[in-house]
């Protein structure tokens, strides 16, 4: 396939805003878990959650211009601006820039605010602004309009497979020469709905930290944030790393073969139903790491994995797994190839193979 390179990174999450905050959190294994309060039939409950702050967006966009933009789109805008700034492309002609955004949940807070207004006031009293912001591609629309991106725009929503599926499209656009660069990213938000579903699924929980390698325990903590990358074809210039291949599939349709010379970056995030699959898929003793305890459990976390892998490859050294190595061997000799692995449901998988330049 056409080799891609990562030219810029823009991240916002519970660890803070920007590459430096992200890199510090990864290096220190530091996670900041907050919470969200949600009304349930049993009263108001507090659900642990990784929360992101979009205040830094005011550095790029006047506050008044954001008054019709909801939290979901603000997260995407912040990730976009940071990635373009990191790539040195802020203010550049973006006529040949494509935009691909992945989201597993979409704008759940606004969607349910819109539905609540329908229920309480009838269809004539439903907010048009809420409706416009409630569709999944609202983030891409807000990013394209605000930044003046005139290339193709795509939003991909396929729950846990959203990020790798979106990356397949981004790669294709670059391979075809349809665009010269792609602003590629993922965004998900914590809302009362997401917290309520988490509470209903797992009941009262008081885990202090995610334990993704403990397959016998449910330890997921919901997260929110945006992770964006500026991708181009490999032009021999400076970049964080290369992306050599992207593969999505189903184990029922053929075997999943993993490279034996790459650090395995696992997307395990404390969900008990997936934890066992990761341990069964990657051999004990393999060189592996998992960084989800830095940003939380959400479909968009797969893009944070890619951003973390890009930083590790640029440094030539993987970050230690914040929850410990589990049954795997930590990177000790320096890393030159990383295979990001995401599993979903009983059989789906995705791998992204990245390498040092």
């Amino acid at each position: 396939m056409t080799r891609l390179v990562v030219k810029g990174i823009g991240v916002a999450g519970a660890f803070g805003t920007g590459v430096e905050s992200f890199q510090s959190a990864l290096a220190e294994g530091r996670a900041t878990v907050g919470s969200v309060e949600v009304a349930t039939g049993e009263g108001v409950v507090t659900v642990p959650a990784y929360r992101a702050d979009t205040a830094a967006l005011e550095e790029f966009v006047p506050k008044r211009a954001l008054r019709r933009v909801d939290n979901y789109s603000k997260l995407a805008l912040l990730g976009s601006y940071l990635a373009l700034k990191d790539a040195g492309m802020l203010g550049a002609d973006l006529g040949r820039l494509g935009l691909v955004i992945a989201s597993g949940y979409g704008a759940t807070a606004t969607t349910y605010a819109f539905l609540d207004s329908l229920i309480s006031g009838g269809d004539t009293c439903a907010s048009p602004t809420h409706f416009a912001n409630s569709v999944h591609n609202a983030a891409a629309a807000n990013v394209a309009i605000t930044l003046g991106i005139r290339g193709p725009s795509l939003t991909v929503s396929q729950f846990d497979m959203s990020v790798p599926s979106a990356l397949v499209s981004a790669r294709q656009w670059l391979a075809e020469g349809r665009v010269d660069a792609v602003l590629f990213g993922a965004v998900d938000e914590v809302s009362e709905l997401v917290a309520y579903l988490q509470h209903r699924r797992y009941g009262p929980r008081h885990v202090a930290a995610m334990a993704p390698f403990d397959a016998g325990t449910e330890s997921s903590i919901i997260g929110e944030g945006a992770a964006f990358l500026v991708l181009t074809r490999d032009d021999g210039g400076t970049a964080y790393c290369g992306i050599d291949s992207v593969e999505t599939g189903n184990v029922f349709g053929g075997g999943l073969s993993l490279p034996d010379d790459a650090l395995m970056l696992l997307g395990a995030d404390g969900r008990k139903e997936l934890g066992r699959r990761y341990l069964d898929t990657v051999a004990a003793g393999a060189t592996a790491a998992c960084y989800t305890p830095i940003y939380g459990s959400m479909p968009a976390a797969a893009a944070f994995d890619l951003a973390a892998a890009a930083l590790a490859l640029k440094n030539g050294q993987a970050f230690a797994s914040p929850a410990g190595p589990g049954p795997f061997a930590p990177d000790s000799a320096g890393v030159s190839r990383i295979c990001s692995l995401r599993l979903a449901g009983p059989s789906e998988y995705a791998t992204v193979l990245m390498s040092k330049l």
Binding site: K63, R64, R67, R68, G121, T124, C125, S127, P128, T129
Partner: protein, 84 residues
Amino acid sequence: MDTKEKLKQILVKDLNLEEVTPEEISNSAPLFGEGLGLDSLDAVELVVIVQKHFGVEIKDMEEGRKAFQSVDSLAAYIEARTAA
């Protein structure tokens, strides 16, 4: 609270006008353009706001255009239809 004060509070909150307080909105200043700076998307939102908070429907575009001139005109429109 009279209609004008209630209206100004709702405008600030529902239209997310974070840079202005209800007290700073002049009753006679234009809502659109140079005044409060609202735009056509806000006009659609205003129709919903007036119905939701005051139970007054604005069905006629010409009536709406006159009512949306200022806080004074919108309050008068609402009061004329809720007085009966």
